[in-house]
Amino acid sequence: MSAAGITPDATRRPFAGRRVRFGDLALQGVAGAAAAAATGLVGLIAWKLIEGAWPSITKFGVHFVTRVAWNPVIGKEAFGAASFLFGTAVTSLIALALAAPLAIGVALFLTELAPRALRAPVTALVETLAAIPSVVIGLWGIYVLGPILRDHVEPSLHSALGFIPLFGPPSSSGSSIFTAIVVLTIMILPIVASITRELFLGVPREQKEGALALGTTRWEMVRGVMFPYARGGIAAALILGLGRAVGEAIAVTQVIGGGVFIHWNLFDTGDTLASKIAASYQGAATNLEVASLVYLALILLVFSLLANLSAQWVVRRVGRRQGIGLNRGGAG
């Protein structure tokens, strides 16, 4: 069965006995070459990264992933990804945890609660906010967000919740893991919100109205009809948001401060895989350091592949083509 517009197989084959025109072959060849190139790109990227990281892979092997170290001093050289994996995990997961309820709330608001007149403009706002370049958000993070967090938010959180190791002494410079978390939350929010909104719009009206007709409250309808229906898609949206957060290099490196340690205090500085690469690549001191940075990039590539493929798998498994538009991914 062909979807409307995809050339049915019958017309793909030339009519029996008709000689194949050169033009047809040429177009198919050129177009096919483009498709092959596009498909091969990912493989080429992986190969180039493995090639670049090879000196580090052979020297440190898999233990690279578990070592906390980044010392380019000749004679003391040691490199490891553990502190950056920790930084990536902490920043991305907490940002996702903050962005998810906000995004689902926005989506619910836009589909169920907002006055009609407000829906279109606010929707447009959310959609276009996904298009803000990361360097702009980073600039804002350094000079607007950082000082606010440093001077007001972090001291309050520390005095109120300081017994939790997460909220240790506040940072002195505005650059911290916490600032990076807020920045990432702002970046993931529009994507997850707009995908979730489209999912909610796709819930069949009959089901929603049926539940309401039975006397459920609106919240019970949302919980009983909309969430189960959109569950798979929301999961995929969250995974995509996570992938975006994991891959974000520029905005994070502008606000996170740098450091090679595993601390629990969110107000300390730190580094993620992507931000370490952005900060150190141009000025890497030795060839082994360059190779180790490419090793970090390789790990990052593996993560983003995993996130992307699992999001696609979730969507396929759920079975419905809900027009999620998986083309909203990507990181800056």
């Binding site: 409307a4 050339t7 177009a31 958000i137 600039l139 919100a193 520029i250 990181a331």
Partner: protein
């Protein structure tokens, strides 16, 4: 959540006051979430607008950065704007035909299995972080040959490709097969049908996809950091050399201690933000429009 319980509770109006209270609470939470989310996002845009607006002047795009460490006086980011124009234009020239060809192949020629595989590959490519693409292109083109705007354009083209291909595929799918069949029945060869009959129907969608891709590419910093960042202060247009670009300029200015540099960064950020917003808004508006048009013309 068992629908059985839901139905039973609803039909019997069990515990209605409590359920209504819970409903009100959840609705309030949703309003709150929306307010917080919108507030944050509006805050960002408003901050940039406020700080950038006061610094916006014509010097920004007509003057180059000052050379000379202690130099004061009028300066701007002309080289960055010129560079972004060139880099994004060349990237579009690379990505647009390739993206269209990929979409044409997937829609018109590929068997279902191949279509699935290439689609997956395109989605995966879309999700590769831009910094990884930057390192990839660095290893491919810059190592041994030097930086160039061309290498930067290639990196941006890799980022743009899935977006262009996907948009084109969506509109190609909307073109009714009756159109193709009619053309073939008239004796027009496949290739001519595709190029002269089918593709022109999709121009709107292609423009949309390209607009969105350009909006995304113009704001990317990481790939250009590795491929086109060793630049001087003078104005250049030659894509064989490394050219300054607006996002990289903002990135560098954001790390400077000089408030004058920050002023220029805010102004450039405002321009970049406005461009991204308009392109994105415009692209989506065009998309809805062309989809409506194709749907009603069937």
């Amino acid at each position: 959540m068992s629908s059985h319980n839901l139905t039973r509770a609803a039909l019997r109006s069990e515990g209605l006051p409590r359920r209504r209270a819970k409903n009100r609470a959840m609705e309030a939470l949703a309003w709150l979430a929306a307010a917080v989310a919108m507030g944050l996002l509006v805050l960002v845009v408003w901050s940039v607008a406020r700080r950038g607006w006061s610094e916006l002047n014509l010097d920004l795009i007509t003057k180059t950065p000052a050379s000379g460490f202690l130099a004061t006086g009028k300066q701007g980011l002309a080289n960055a704007f010129a560079g972004t124009l060139v880099i994004v234009a060349v990237a579009t020239l690379m990505a647009l035909p390739t993206g269209i060809l990929v979409a044409v192949y997937l829609n018109e020629f590929a068997p279902a299995a191949v279509r699935g595989a290439v689609s997956v590959a395109l989605d995966v490519l879309n999700g590769v972080p831009a910094i990884v693409i930057g390192i990839f292109v660095y290893g491919l083109f810059v190592l041994g040959h030097g930086q160039s705007a061309l290498a930067g354009s290639f990196a941006l083209a890799v980022i743009m490709l899935p977006l262009v291909a996907r948009s084109t595929m969506e509109v190609l799918a909307l073109v009714p097969s009756s159109l193709r069949e009619a053309s073939l029945a008239l004796g027009i060869p496949r290739w001519r049908t595709t190029l002269s009959v089918v593709l022109p129907q999709t121009v709107g969608g292609i423009v949309t996809g390209t607009t969105l891709a350009v909006a995304r590419a113009a704001g990317e910093t990481a790939p250009l950091l590795f491929t086109s960042s060793i630049v001087g202060t003078q104005l250049h247009w030659n894509p064989h050399h490394a050219l300054q670009s607006v996002p990289v300029a903002i990135f560098e200015l954001s790390e400077s201690p000089d408030p004058q540099d920050h002023a220029r960064a805010w102004a450039a950020a405002l321009i970049l933000l406005l461009f991204s917003l308009f392109a994105s808004l415009g692209g989506r508006w065009l998309a809805t429009r062309s989809r409506r048009r194709i749907a009603t013309s069937r």
